[in-house]
Symmetry: C2
Subunit: 344 residues, 2 copies
């Protein structure tokens, strides 16, 4: 029995679940989940009742006889397994961030956008603080639709925050906010990852933060640029990676590349980020997570799209795998595992 099938069956043993909820109960990719849901439906082991999936009597028998039991997650209900709680000064950061970013630009899928919840953006900053990578650090953000730069600025702790971003709207928004809030050490500039950093940005940072596209080519390029931005030994990087759009095989290649560049992985926190995707866009813009769903689905009743958070640490002088200018097509952004970030 496949891992995904087991996860679906044990989740449904504990009670009916919507499509969106079921996504949270497995750790495979979306295409594999959808295949398995179709199989289970056609085998008569599960049934769709409106928006909810249930086990059939036969399905329940099959699940139990396979040694499965009703699964109730042991995930911490306080932090949702994210390890960080926003209390005290951290709650102040969160309040301020929400207030400041009320008028944030809407995500557009042209640039693989789709931002994490405000709470998770601030959790991310608190995590970086926990790991000692915030105070008096020069921080680089490559792609910032999450507006992490402003969350960092609110803490008053980094020495500087530089955003490199391909979307003019975000560059302008971040610079205007930073000015308005008196964050003199926060700035954004237009940048396309196809081009190398200008000289002054090379070897100039202690920390990078990025939420890269999830093709091997794209992510390798993002990390290579970020590595060029770092000072070297003892510098660190933070990035999100999904299993929904990246198979474990892809993870393997990504980790191999990171080690080859001189990074060790120090932390991977599962489902650290929940994404606040626009439910209407999701239904109307042809995303495969909707169009390929085995039943006709409605708006999500759950943050279904998550990513795991990585921290990596430079153990030696870094050696980027890609240098110089490259020309990239859509293949930078999308591959056959992209089900939420692409409509192809």
């Amino acid at each position: 029995m496949t891992r995904i099938r087991r996860n679906i069956l044990r989740a449904l043993l504990a009670g009916e679940k919507s499509y969106w909820q079921l996504i949270r109960y497995q750790d495979g990719s979306l295409p594999d989940l959808e295949t398995e849901l179709r199989n289970l439906l056609s085998e008569g082991l599960i049934e769709a009742h409106g928006q909810m999936f249930r086990l059939s009597a036969e399905g329940e028998k099959a699940a139990v006889s396979s040694g499965l039991s009703a699964y109730v997650p042991p995930i911490c209900s306080s932090c949702k397994g994210k390890t960080i709680e926003l209390d005290g000064v951290y709650a102040d950061w969160a309040r301020k961030f929400v207030e400041v970013t009320q008028d944030r630009p809407k995500a557009i899928k042209d640039y693989d956008q789709g931002y994490v919840t405000s709470e998770d953006t601030v959790r991310r900053v608190a995590l970086i603080h926990r790991f000692g990578d915030l105070e008096a650090k020069d921080m680089l953000i490559v792609g910032d639709d999450d507006l992490t730069s402003l969350a960092l600025g609110i803490t008053g702790l980094p020495r500087s925050v530089k955003v490199l971003e391909v979307d003019t709207r975000l560059v302008e928004y971040i610079n205007a906010k930073a000015k308005q809030l008196g964050m003199h050490n926060v700035s954004a500039e237009l940048y396309d990852v196809q081009y190398p950093f200008r000289q002054e940005l090379k070897g100039a940072f202690d920390v990078f933060i990025t939420d890269p596209v999830e093709t091997i080519e794209g992510i390798t390029l993002f990390f290579s640029r970020c590595a060029e931005g770092l000072r070297g030994v003892d510098s660190v990087g933070y990035f999100g990676l999904t299993h929904l759009e990246s198979s474990r095989q892809k993870w393997y290649q990504i980790q191999k590349n990171l080690l080859d560049m001189g990074f060790v992985i120090t932390d991977i926190i599962r489902d650290f980020h929940e994404y606040d995707l626009d439910p209407e866009d999701l239904l109307t813009q042809g995303f495969r997570v909707v169009t390929k769903a085995p039943v006709s689905v409605q708006m999500p009743d759950e943050y279904f799209y998550t990513s795991d958070y990585f921290r990596i640490y430079a153990v030696r002088e870094l050696t980027p795998l890609i240098t110089g200018q490259v020309t990239l097509s859509d293949a930078l952004y999308y591959d056959e595992e992209a089900y939420v970030t692409a409509d192809r």
Copy 2:
């Protein structure tokens, strides 16, 4: 300023801390921490008052002018950043485990023993359950002073649990308990990691669990044996790794070896395990964490020894780096980074 120095200073900015507490505030190795504490003392930036360390006026000035602020951990107070809470059925597992293991054998350092708290052993089992690696699985444990086998047996969920253990006392204890509790699918046998598995144990398991010794040679041998025990693609492994006795350079080599064998790393949860070390043994048996401390220390007022928890996943047929019989000396167990597990 070194990472360790920064972590000491910002922890002390928030208030005085004992030696044992300070260990929890840094993510370097113990030798490096002790060097840095000595430096800070001799520079007059910190002072020891009885068992507590404090910042001097000069130290406070230095910390603040370096951009540091009083650090209050944002770590979830409910799960302590371990992601798992023991509630409902999971609390039952924990109660049962504590009850069953009241008379557990005392840890002896000859075999690098020293077990994690009972709560964390059960958290470990709950985590494995979360990740779908428990129900109807054949599970292998190499070295089981934590008695994870019994915690697994209590859940009634695995298909089988096999312990391979070098300490006769533990083999007998686990077998006697399993018999007494009617766990027919839990068994232990004597095993020395210098020898290959017997044929029937090769390729026979879905999951391995180990808490390996932390020398490169030792850990590579442990993982090679465990890999030989696994079925292959989609099999998984769980193990603890400290930063206290393993530098990030050592982590790097370990991760490289894991990838070379065909594993990808799916999770790393920091400080997942707290170790319940015998405080009296610690003070009297010449461990370097005590003998090399910069001041005369008393019994720990905190679980100071922790390890991070790794989950690894086989993306292809596994290729162990070591096969066949090997002869190992003390170098298997100890290297110059061993400060708590060795007295040399």
